[in-house]
Amino acid sequence: MAVTGIFLVLFLIAHMLGNLKVFAGDASFNHYAHWLREIGAPILPNVWFLWIMRVGLLVAVLGHIWAATVLALRARAARPVRYAHRKKVRGSYAARTMRWGGVIILLFVIYHILDLTTGTLNPVGDPSRPYANVVADFAPARWYVTLFYTLAIVALGFHLRHGVFSALRSLGQQTPRGEQRARAVALVFAVALCAGYLLVPFAVLTGLVS
């Protein structure tokens, strides 16, 4: 969980920073998006780097889901008779929603790829004009897209809040003061990442980016 999660988190950071290029304007954002396809040239032929990344991410996502499924099945098997009276998990809301939150994020990722990578569900859907795709996507008339995007990002924030702390613990964080630091790092990171991702749709919604 921790190792695949860390790889995915590194991707999330890079993806968020890339998204913020939208504030640099149409030409700059499109140039960045096209450059992504050419990373590694001339050593690597065109789009090879992108496909290596995609395969790497797919392996990480599948590994993450596999580990989560094993844990969930073990948890189910470990308590064959349920409690008649059961309190909600008090550790944290984030810890309680890890599994269903993960499913929501997976559904969102599938939609997100169909929307902004393949363009199938995008009103513009022109791969040569990613800036136009983004602006059309979060247009005020399509508020439900922005709403779904926001919910998914908030779910991701909760997932990361527990996930980052849990990954640090799995990799051997062991002192009480370190635990406070790890929890603080997880919270700050989750909030910062959420804010970074939500800036783009709300900038489009309010007309800052058009």
Binding site: L71, A75, G172
Partner: protein, 253 residues
């Protein structure tokens, strides 16, 4: 106080079991929770019914025998307290209280509220010990231990093995118990020879016993009557990583 109790009744390991409602009147707020059950049992015996089986021994919070899920809380609503040290003043007149046994595949119900916690013994047998010369106790200061390590080891040594961590864990994991033992022994010089085989052996025994995996949800430490901190699990993880990458003391490698 007059209380309504809903208690899990199960005549034996094969019985399916069910929640049964009992009315208990004239309960003193100064009674302990187990004394209240004693009163109910006396009435059941006088009425010719089967008394409710529940585990208890020292009744002063140090033996680890008692363990009841009270209204969905392991050991009841008061933190840092075993069920035997819980008093009825924590409840109100007219309350309905649900009492269930620990629920885990590794802790099968023997009867009513009594579960078999032998799985913990298997974990201990797989590494929860040290090689020490038997005989008289050595001079206390002959092996120096850093104060911070002694304190952290002592904190973990407070574990009484009651199983509340397993009962409360959403994954049915016994990792806090295992980690408390690994931390206690791993922090002391006497625990070093088996440090790596211990953590591998105990975690393997834990998994074989049918406990779930830890997801750091943190429920265990909330209900732990001895307040074993969640950081012990980090110490276990670090030892496990070191042990599985080295395997220095595995024969033939």
């Amino acid at each position: 106080m007059n209380l309504t109790l809903r208690i899990w009744r199960q005549s034996g390991p094969q019985d399916k079991g069910r929640m049964v409602t009992y009315q208990v009147d004239d309960v003193s707020p100064d009674m302990s929770f187990l004394e209240m059950l004693d009163v109910l049992n006396e009435r059941l015996i006088l009425a010719g019914e089967e008394p409710i089986a529940f585990d208890h021994d020292c009744r002063e919070g140090i033996c680890g025998m008692c363990g009841l899920m009270i209204n969905g809380d392991a050991h009841g609503p008061q933190r840092g307290t075993t069920a035997c040290q819980l008093h009825m003043r924590q409840f109100k007149d007219g309350d309905t209280i649900d009492i269930e046994p620990w629920r885990a595949r590794a802790f099968p119900v023997i009867k009513d509220l009594v579960v078999n916690r032998g799985a913990f013994d298997k974990i201990i047998a797989a590494g929860g010990y040290i090689t020490a010369p038997t005989g008289s106790a050595p001079e206390a200061h002959s092996v120096p231990v850093a104060k911070a390590n002694a304190d952290a080891a002592f904190e973990s040594a407070a574990c009484i093995g009651c199983g509340a961590c397993v009962a409360a864990c959403p994954n049915g994991s016994g990792m806090l118990f295992t980690a408390a033992k690994v931390t206690q022994l791993g922090l002391l010089p006497q625990g070093q020879p088996e440090r790596h085989t211990r953590v591998i052996g105990m975690v393997d025994a834990h998994d074989e016993a049918g406990f779930g995996g830890c997801t750091n949800a943190g429920e265990c430490t909330v209900v732990c009557p001895k307040g074993i901190p969640l950081t012990t699990i980090g110490r276990l993880n670090r030892d496990y990583l070191a042990a599985s990458s080295k395997r220095g003391d595995t024969p033939g490698t």
